[in-house]
Amino acid sequence: MSNVIKNPRNGCALHGALQTVQEINGAVPVVHSNAGCGVVNYLANQRFSGGASSYSGFSIPGTAAQERHVIFGGASRLREQIKNTIKVQKGDLYVILNSCESAMVGDDVDAMTREIVEQGEPVVDTLVAGFNGGPHYGYEQVLGDIFKSIYEVKKSGLKRESNLVNIFGIVPQKDPYWQGNLNELQRILTGLGIKSNVFFGTEGGVADFVNAKNASASIVFSQWGELPAKILKEKFDIPVIYRSSLPIGTDKVQDLAEAINKVISLDESLVKDFLEKEEHTEKSLFLRVRDEIFELGLSKNAVIIGDEEQVIRLGGFLKDRLGVVISSVVLIDSLKKDEAHETNNEEELRTISENIYKGIDQKEIDEIVSSSNAEVIFGSSLEKRIAEKLNLPLVEISYPIADKLILNKADAGVNGAISLLENYITVVKQYDERKKELASSILKEVKGGESWRELSQKKSFLRQSNLITELPTREYISAQR
């Protein structure tokens, strides 16, 4: 893969850390960088899917570092900013975020944080700089750093709760369906008799972080959730349940229940009743579109562009439940060489597709799609152009999804399985409709104002009518190739 990147889609580690903190109710991010670093992330995200949290965009406190701070150091500016942030902005936890600029200058961010913590204020920091990695890395590092320090600034007793779990690995905003997925996951866990700290969004907040040490297990749903779970294990001996992806469909929910049951014993009859009810709902809704599944030929050849977790989850579902053949996948959150993680999902990925690529360069992704013999693309809005060029339907599942609001819709769990099906069928239907319209407009063009009887007497009509049948047929064959 090239060093230079065409159409970079993800942002940097600072962006990941910032959007992670933004989605924690009660947390206030404080960005130590030049004025625009955090704004770039805001402006980019504003085009996409999920709305904005209370502390987002121009409401975010930041040092707006100037040339003098680059030359003489910006630590004293940061000290001033932290002190005044606490005076102006409401918050239960203030999280100081570092940047390329302060890392290159060598500002002692940690010392400034310690100084204010000694005054009894709830402040933590992370030293990850933008150039250290992508946003998923930023998510992982900021969570790790919060858990390293929060119990010094938010003191409370330790009381293990036998049915409480921590949820890690879903990166806010980088999963366009993160809010809906967290809510769906919490609904499922409640159904299984388990309480959960989800940390982010409508049901999460700073209190979840304080309470995380009381959990009986941490469930990690992607490699990016490993670090916070590992820190909680080291500090409080909380066992970790590793999953390669969020569950989708009742069978995967059952797999999750079995994995949890190995660590926390679940009420068998409660689980059984819940799974039966979920299965009933899922089957009933599938039944309603059985005709479409056959008639639209959903078992197409597909290519998926998304995070590893999304590829495993959605790819597995499409393959196992709808007979889709995944000719290629592109992982857009792939690890750098030096980013060691416990889980290696290579083998599971191989069961989904033989061709696994990693990277975010648009040209390379377009080439992979072009050579993949796909009939449908599961990707982001950045794949619109290649979809149009190849005349393929595009189901948008990964970041960025432009000009489409996704507030509380899930594409995981049982409800997520249904909504994925809805999306897929809608896109294919619209695509088929466009093909029909094209054929119909060609027919009108050829026929003009004349009647069939008049036309049928003209020699030229035979040639033109070939055109009518030929074009759609050619298109069809090209789509099937």
Partner: protein, 465 residues
């Protein structure tokens, strides 16, 4: 005096004494900015805001046949996502920690070659970012090396994100580069069209102005936004130049006049009835089509008078947050509709756009003036204290005002230029008033009560040099 001899554009602070930190009254601001230079201030508490890199990218991304490279860490390149609905591609040099130590020149070379080979542009722009500026990467040697090889202009945009507090400096930096490296220095002869300078207007705003220019039969080209490299090159052939927002495009217009003898027709921003009228009549006078213009303006005025109520805003207290160039036009319009302007916010004041302040003298001199990019905490303070009913904003994230009890009129995604813009603004008020009180209470607000009871200028201090 032309600034073109300089290698790069001066910051707005150095060239025009731009001030981006002030919180006080209109009278205080007029006093503060009336000398030969304006004293700089700082904020000891601030919120993040746009910088010149973002502004430069925004305008360059709208040039149809140029390629753009964001030379920096991958996050800086993320700005391109704001443009993805158009057939638009951009590149990031993706600098990582190693490049901050050893330099990123090799990646820049690779990026220029890729951009050239894949997009076949007529020019390549390289946008600078903090990492490159701190590292002092030698961008110019790459340009010298590659320009001969690929045969198109490769232009460095000397943005860095931290040398100016005034984001509009980004437009100045782009202007400087266009003048120095693109615009035809020896135009053969003047051609019968005018340059319409636009840096930040939407395509809908341009269309509204185009409608009026067409009515007067005036030939024009828009630049640098929505233009081509050839059109930019031809700017020196124009008969004259007008600027849609003088505080953004005045620099380009003045330099075109100074260096290439293209007259700059100084006008107001074409916003509101009077602003648009003044814009068109000034232009018409120069082009000697006054009669036609007067007739057109009279017809529009008659129609406007029939269509809108002058009592729409009776009893409403209004705070305007906008580019200073447009605030007098907004203030006149809102006052004519029965409203009371109790405060305004603008990103900056400098030695040129300060003349807008004198156009606000019809307002009470004690109204609140907040100068700053964003800085919503100070605006929340002013809105809460002034018991503002309606917050009118040109900027993103304006809904914070509803936490302070105001309803919001946002001009984003709306075409507010030209005569049509008067209807659009009027309609925006009608719709906003319908929403009054309906979105309050969704959030408890981000700001502590103790802050809102403090003086709004608490964190604005004199800069110690």
């Amino acid at each position: 005096m032309s600034f073109l001899e300089d290698r790069k554009a001066l910051t707005r602070e150095k060239r025009l004494s731009a001030l981006s930190h002030f919180h006080g009254t209109l009278e205080g601001l007029i006093d503060e900015t009336s000398g030969t230079e304006i004293k700089q201030r700082v904020r000891t508490y601030s919120q993040i805001h746009v910088d010149e890199t973002i502004y430069a990218f925004d305008v360059l991304s709208k040039i149809e046949d140029a390629a753009i490279i964001v030379n920096g860490a991958i996050g800086c390149g993320n700005i391109g996502l704001t443009q993805i609905d158009e057939a638009f591609g951009w590149y990031s040099t993706n600098l990582v920690e190693r490049d901050t130590i050893l330099g990123g020149e090799d990646k820049l070379r690779e990026a220029v070659i890729r951009a050239y080979e894949e997009q076949h542009p007529k020019a390549v722009f390289i946008i600078g970012t903090p990492v490159v500026a701190i590292n002092n990467d030698d961008v110019n040697s790459i340009i010298l090396e590659l320009e001969d090889e690929i045969g198109i202009p490769i232009i460095s945009i000397y943005t860095d994100g931290f040398k100016s507090k005034t984001p509009v400096t980004g437009y100045d930096i782009v202007t400087h580069s266009l003048l120095k490296y693109l615009i035809d220095k020896n135009p053969e002869e003047t051609e019968p069209f005018i340059n319409v300078i636009s840096f930040s207007e939407s395509i809908e705003d341009i269309a509204a102005i185009a409608k009026s220019l067409k009515a007067l039969d005036i030939k024009y080209q828009v630049l640098p936004r929505f233009s081509s490299i050839d059109e930019i090159k031809g700017a020196s052939k124009a008969k004259a130049t007008v600027v849609l927002n003088p505080e953004e495009g005045g620099y380009l217009a003045r330099e075109l006049e100074e260096v290439y003898d293209v007259p700059y027709i100084v006008t107001e921003a074409p916003v509101g009835f009077r602003g648009t009228k003044a814009f068109l009549l000034k232009l018409a006078a120069y082009l000697k089509v006054e009669d036609k213009a007067s007739k057109y303006v009279d017809e529009v005025e008659a129609e406007l008078t029939r269509s809108i109520s002058k009592h729409l805003l009776d009893g409403k207290k209004i705070f305007i947050d906008a580019s200073l160039s447009r605030i007098p036009a907004y203030a006149r319009l809102f006052t004519n509709l029965g409203g009371e302007v109790v405060g305004f916010g603008a990103p900056f004041v400098d030695l040129e756009n300060r003349n807008q302040l004198s156009k606000l003298r019809f307002l009470s001199k004690g109204i609140t003036a907040v100068i700053g990019n964003g800085q919503y905490f100070e605006k929340a303070n002013a809105i809460a204290k002034g018991e503002v009913d309606i917050y009118v904003s040109e900027f993103q994230g304006s809904s914070f005002a509803s936490d302070e009890g105001a309803t919001v009129v946002s001009t984003r995604n709306k075409s507010i230029y030209g005569f049509d813009g008067v209807y659009v603004l009027y309609d925006s008020f009608v719709k906003a008033i319908r929403l009054s009180g309906k979105l309050h209470g969704l959030d408890k607000g981000n700001y502590k009560i103790s802050w809102k009871s403090k003086s709004g200028n608490w964190y604005v201090k004199q800069e110690v040099s």
